[in-house]
């Protein structure tokens, strides 16, 4: 009997250490060509950029795509130096969770002593980390969080994507004028600031355009898997269009179950749907005939976009989604700001970021406005079994 516990401890410790090593390897600096820095001390020729993204968890494809995009941009940036300095990227996984995002931001500031932070994707995650960056006066750029509240945290927080005020209006207009719909149901993810924010903008704008919103509380929570009874209730309310601002994991399951329950009403969503996993989870039947607003379309004929798509495919073997493009542009905007900054202290980096004007990236022309939000165009995409296809471009 004595050797049982010993065996258990041995096994557990073996596993633990093998995990840790691997983790350390993936966590260490991701800078494109230099070996990982072993000391935490600041060296003079390096600008440390922390990246907080969901590399695992329910929105993992977003984090992975973003970091791919960032690395692609970084390769170009580090090919030439910024005033003799090179950018070093330190990636932290927030698992798509707010609490983990706050931890990651704290770690990057306290331990890695980063100069700037990029991240995160989901608004609830960024909202959890942003106040820490603001308090510690470390500039934070989110390439993809669209909730209004994110940049209201303070002057050190900015974004290089549009906001839900714009995205919600785009979809409401699309529903009312392009699709000619009159009666919308809204299904909200209760655990998501993004979902709630987008829903309320859509609601106001759709009403303004003469539509009605079914006044019922259709909600779910992240990580739910069974939506059949909820969908039944939605179906009975008889909408002619359903707005579903959620993330692809739950949306995919919901679209599939909706088809099985005989719901043929079109669903509309936001950039939270824009992942290749959506097609996988919803299946070809579920995904057909729905529309989303997003930041970027790989079908865009623009030269710059096509060059990016080609570069991305060469490096990662898949077409880039919106998050890859946003990560890429976020990194480029940051590099551009660093070039313009008087020196590399937080105050001047912040000033340089916030005064970005007309920077042309693959997601369009980026101008940071007085509220530190990017003013730029959106695209409406149709979801098809083969992927997202370009429908129209909407400028602010």
């Amino acid at each position: 009997m004595l050797n049982y516990p010993f065996l258990g401890v041995l096994l557990a410790s073996l596993l633990f250490f093998s995990c840790n090593k691997e983790e350390a390897a993936t966590r260490k600096t991701n800078s494109s060509d230099q070996p990982a820095a072993t000391t935490k001390a600041k060296s003079d020729d390096v600008i440390r950029v922390g990246a907080v993204f969901a590399m695992t968890g329910p929105i993992a494809t977003y984090g992975q795509e973003s970091v791919n995009g960032i690395n692609l941009a970084l390769k170009k940036i580090n090919a030439e130096s910024i005033k003799g300095k090179r950018i070093e990227l330190i990636v932290e996984d927030n698992k798509g969770e707010p609490a983990e995002s706050a931890n990651a931001v704290r770690k990057l500031i306290d331990i890695d002593k980063v100069d700037v932070i990029l991240g995160a994707v989901a608004s609830s995650n960024t909202l959890a980390g942003a106040p820490i960056a603001q308090n510690q006066k470390v500039p934070l750029i989110t390439p993809a969080s669209t909730n209004e509240k994110v940049t209201q945290t303070g002057d050190f927080i900015s974004r290089t994507c549009f906001t839900d005020n714009f995205q919600g209006v785009v979809m409401a207009k699309f529903a009312a004028s392009t699709l000619q719909k009159k009666n919308a149901a809204i299904i909200i993810d209760n655990a998501s600031d993004y979902s709630k924010g987008l829903a309320s903008v859509f609601k106001d704008e759709f009403k303004k355009l003469g539509g009605t919103i079914i006044d019922q509380n259709f909600t779910y929570t992240q990580k739910d898997t069974d939506f059949r009874s909820l969908l039944r209730r939605v179906k009975r309310a008889n909408p002619d269009v359903i707005f579903l601002p959620g993330y692809y994991t739950e949306v995919g399951l919901m679209l599939k179950q909706a088809k099985q329950m005989g719901i043929n009403t079109p669903f509309l969503g936001g950039d939270g749907w824009d992942s290749p996993k959506l097609q996988e989870l919803a299946g070809p039947e579920g995904v057909k005939g729905n529309y989303i607003s997003s930041h970027f379309s790989a079908d865009d004929k623009d030269e710059k976009v096509q060059a990016f798509v080609k570069d991305y495919v060469d490096n990662f073997g898949a077409k880039p989604g919106a998050m890859a493009a946003l990560g890429h542009d976020g990194m480029l905007v940051l590099a551009d700001a660093l070039k313009r900054a008087e020196n590399f202290n937080a105050e001047s980096i912040k000033m340089a970021i916030n005064s970005t004007k007309g920077f042309v990236g693959v997601t369009g022309s980026i101008t940071i406005d007085e509220n530190r939000n990017a003013r730029k165009s959106a695209v409406v995409l149709e979801t098809k079994p083969s992927g997202m296809s370009f429908k129209q471009k909407v400028s602010p």
Binding site: E23, R236, M261, G283
Partner: protein, 299 residues
């Protein structure tokens, strides 16, 4: 009957149908909880993880081209073996150390599997392959899919098998004896260690079956998938009367149906809150669970 009333009946039927499907899954997981509790008084919080492991074994087998039924059986055996191993490495050495130690060990084992799973298998949800083409049948306004029918039928078949195993076989008799009085069973020549291993095996195999069925039903698997269903199955087991096999089935179905009625007729936000409030109410009036007093059937 007015048209509104007919539709109301369709609604109720839909919610009941969804509730029974979800409840069947809870019941399959709850069986393992209740069997293990019945035999060694351990609340095995790692039980939800056997469900996850079953789902992943099924996922990899079906992805590599195996048909559904053999994949289901191998997944059941696979998660059963993992459970036997865990019982041998983790639970057996501390069996005499008291119930709190065992409970904490179980929680630790559960977390170990969840996080090791995220590291080894990847934390993103994976799309479960469509092993059986989904067909939807429509009766009036009620939509029922063949996957729902498969879940329901498999659950019933597994229950009948379990009933036969426990009540009609020699090993079942030994299980009942061990559960009734372990010391006395030992004195009568029953190898109780073997019986406990076997109980873990059967319980985990059922959870593994539930995992594969859920993969088929929702088309998604991920390493944390065992957490919530595991908790709910535990509640179902307690609700039905922990240690009592038919109680687990009734508890699971009651919980599944309650949840879906709340979502359908009321507000989905309160699904878990109200479902659990119902449970608290039932337990206030029947602290031993729905089938609580019937001690003879416990295993």
């Amino acid at each position: 009957m007015s048209e509104e009333f007919v539709f109301f009946l369709y609604d109720i039927a839909t919610y009941l149908l969804n509730g029974i499907t979800q409840g069947s899954i809870y019941a399959l997981i709850a069986l393992g909880y209740t069997m293990v509790y019945g035999i060694i008084k351990l609340i095995n919080f790692a039980h939800g993880e056997f469900y996850m492991i079953g789902a992943f074994i099924g996922f990899y087998l079906i992805t590599s081209g195996m048909p559904f039924v053999p994949a289901l059986l191998i997944a059941m055996i696979g998660s059963g073996l993992v459970a036997v191993l865990i019982e041998w490495i983790v639970y057996r050495p501390i069996r005499s150390a008291g119930r709190i130690s065992a409970l904490i060990t179980a929680l630790g084992t559960s977390l170990f599997f969840q996080y090791a799973g995220q590291r080894v298998l990847g934390a993103d949800p994976k799309a479960f392959p469509q092993a059986i083409k989904v067909k939807t049948y429509q009766i009036g306004e009620i939509y029922i899919t063949n996957t729902q029918i498969i879940i329901f039928v498999s659950t019933i078949l597994l229950m009948i098998f379990l009933w036969w195993l426990v009540n009609k076989t020699k090993i079942g008799k030994a299980m009942r004896a061990t559960s009734f009085d372990m010391k006395a069973a030992q004195l009568m020549g029953i190898n109780t260690n073997q019986i406990i291993s076997f109980t873990f095996f059967v319980g985990a195999a059922f959870a593994g079956a539930a995992g594969v069925l859920v993969g088929l039903y929702y088309n998604t698997v991920e390493p944390m998938m065992g957490m919530i269903p595991g908790l709910k199955a535990f509640v179902a087991a307690v609700l039905g009367g922990i240690g009592i096999i038919p109680g687990a089935v009734i508890g699971g179905l009651v919980l599944g149906i309650a949840e879906n009625l709340v979502v359908g007729l009321w507000v989905s936000t309160y699904r878990d809150a109200i479902a659990f409030a119902i449970l608290i109410l039932i337990l206030l009036f029947k602290p031993a669970g729905i089938l609580g007093e019937n001690k003879k059937e416990k295993v």
